[in-house]
């Protein structure tokens, strides 16, 4: 159902290049002091890399809405787990007194 148009090897090479550049960037930036932004930058690059892999290597860009919805649901639920757990950990110190 999903193979009406498919990426070509040329595109794959481009993605590979982008991923390698992303990895090098992550590695390089890790040694520069950005304060609290270090993990933010690293994770942003990681997210971009993951999105590239998902969209092109995993053909989601060419897939139907259901597949896209499924993946979004996965990350949405992960966010639920993380944020709702943190809602406890981050507010424990604000005791009402």
């Amino acid at each position: 159902m999903s193979e009406h148009s498919h990426p070509t090897p040329g595109l794959y090479v481009l993605i590979l290049l982008a991923l390698v550049i992303g990895t090098c960037l992550t590695w390089g930036i890790a040694f520069i002091d950005l304060g609290i932004w270090n993990p933010v930058v690293a994770l942003t690059i990681a997210v971009i890399k993951a999105v590239l892999v998902i969209l092109f290597f995993m053909h989601v860009h060419y897939s139907d809405r259901l597949t896209k919805l499924t993946i979004s649901a996965g990350f949405f639920w992960l966010m639920i787990m993380i944020t709702m757990s943190l809602s406890d950990y981050l507010t424990r110190t604000f005791l009402p007194r």
Binding site: M1, S2, E3, H6, P7, T8, P9, Y12, V13, I15, L16, L19, V20, T23, T26, W27, A30, F31, I32, D33, L34, N38, P39, A42, L43, I45, A46, K49, A50, V53, I54, F56, F57, M58, H59, S63, L66, T67, T70, I71, A73, G74, F75, W77, L78, M81, I82, S85, L86, Y89
Partner: protein, 263 residues
Amino acid sequence: MRRFPLSTSQTTTTEHHPALAHQFDSMEQQQGASTFGMWVFLLTEIMMFGGLFTAYLIYRLKYYPAFVAGSTSISVSWGFANTLVLIGSSFTMAMAVWAAQKGMRKAQVWFLLGTMVLGAAFLGVKAKEYYDKYDECHIPGHVIGKGFNTWGGCDAKDPSLGNIAEEIRKRDPNIPEGAAVQIAGQTEIFFSFYFAMTGLHAFHMVIGLGLLAWLLLRARRGEFGPSYYTPMELGGLYWHFVDIVWIFLFPLLYLISRHQHGA
């Protein structure tokens, strides 16, 4: 009493592809269902790794200095190299799927082989890293290896063997020994997560290699072509997912506040 049938019946005539399972009407339905099934399975994988990531995050907030020290003690170069290896294997995997779609038997086999070699290389590096940790007495707990020591190394007197407390003091002499030892002791929890997360990932890699071997056999027999390449597609999805997990593991485990301490 009268019955009110919900349905009328219809006879379907579809030409049968040998790979079409009986429960499906068409190859298109079969591929759609299989691919979607794989995605649903990957959804469960996201949540499974997600549980680990959540716990990791909470402990990282709680024991940040120890996570920095633990992260610094693992080799960023190997981690970096392994990231590139895995990205490369993802590329060859994508190419293998493409070759299958195009019905290029030889190309499939070579790309699959390439993927397997890179995957095995990744596991080899991982094994080396694990062995280093074993050597440095950084295995958490008291069951495997010589047991985790509060100073985070094998011998308190010998700073050369993974003595994390000593490393901390070397990088920042202002940190007193007591504090360094305490932080070193807490790296045990970092290593717990390091091994749990990379271990679960490596376990997925091993399964992935098994899948690839099976795909390789089938590809060699020329089973895949433009009309049927679903198993290849599914294997690809799985392999890319494992790659994505690593894309997150690398910065989370290897690169915690590297700038403080240099390579």
